[in-house]
Point group: D2
Chain length 92, copies 4
């Protein structure tokens, strides 16, 4: 990925938060915390993972489908926006 | 959509099958058929809709993100395949 | 389903709206309307179907898991609420 | 959760495997491994999380909606099976 350092830090921050959420699920199961808190923790972890996936898919669409140096202007931005918006809807 | 006539017929056949499934849900509700058959009908309708969405997204990725006449060869096919495969996984 | 007449009418209204949405997808495909409107129509149809499924699952949990005449008070309402809330989150 | 020790160990094994998958995503992002491996790692992590959620929901339905000591036989097993099967379909 030819992401800038800033993008990389943003994605890493997201995945580390997700790791923390998975560890909370693990602690809840170890403590026999009950199904309800575990289900709610899993639901938020899943939402956070969907958010990360949406970021990665968006990066992929915007930076890898077309090599902008070899083919400047070839990516149809309107079509790319529509795709990213639909993928985000499905990943919610 | 610059789909061929054959693609169009294939998509239309899919959406008509989905309409038939939705009508079956309607009849089941009218007949007070019980939650279980309704839930199963809804689950298959949803799977059929996910299949149609995957087809449309794939068409969109392969034919609209880059205008192949203006920018021949600009779409990275490997990257497009990876995207379509991930979207299909999420749409299942 | 031992739903009241009112519940039945509400569910039927939902499924008829969904049928209308599927018919709009069909018309858009017939008119070769483009992938973008089709993807957006499919995304809203899917959301409407998820809403209907959530209603049916909720009815099922509240009225069919336990026969309230044979076993009054047996369904743990707090646990049922937690389940319905998690299912709604996943069906969004 | 009044799970047996064996159930608890099974759920803990699942969540630890998921933690390992999230750590693999983190390492891939740190190594700038590319969007494609990251998307595939995220897709398998999501599938594993859906499997864990399905297990927890199933436990919840079978052991918490009705207190089997206070209300023996009150849970309609056929209705519970139908619910669990639909939830599993949606969690795939």
């Amino acid at each position: 990925m030819t992401h800038t350092v800033r993008d990389k830090q943003k994605l890493l921050a997201r995945v580390r938060r997700i790791r923390g959420q998975v560890e909370a699920v693990e602690r809840a199961l170890e403590a026999e915390a009950g199904c309800e808190p575990v289900m709610h923790l899993l639901a938020s972890t899943r939402a956070a993972m969907a958010g990360l996936m949406a970021e990665v898919v968006e990066d992929h669409v915007r930076t890898h489908l077309v090599d902008p140096e070899a083919h400047p202007g070839a990516l149809n931005d309107t079509a790319a926006d529509a795709l990213v918006s639909v993928v985000r809807t499905y990943l919610k």
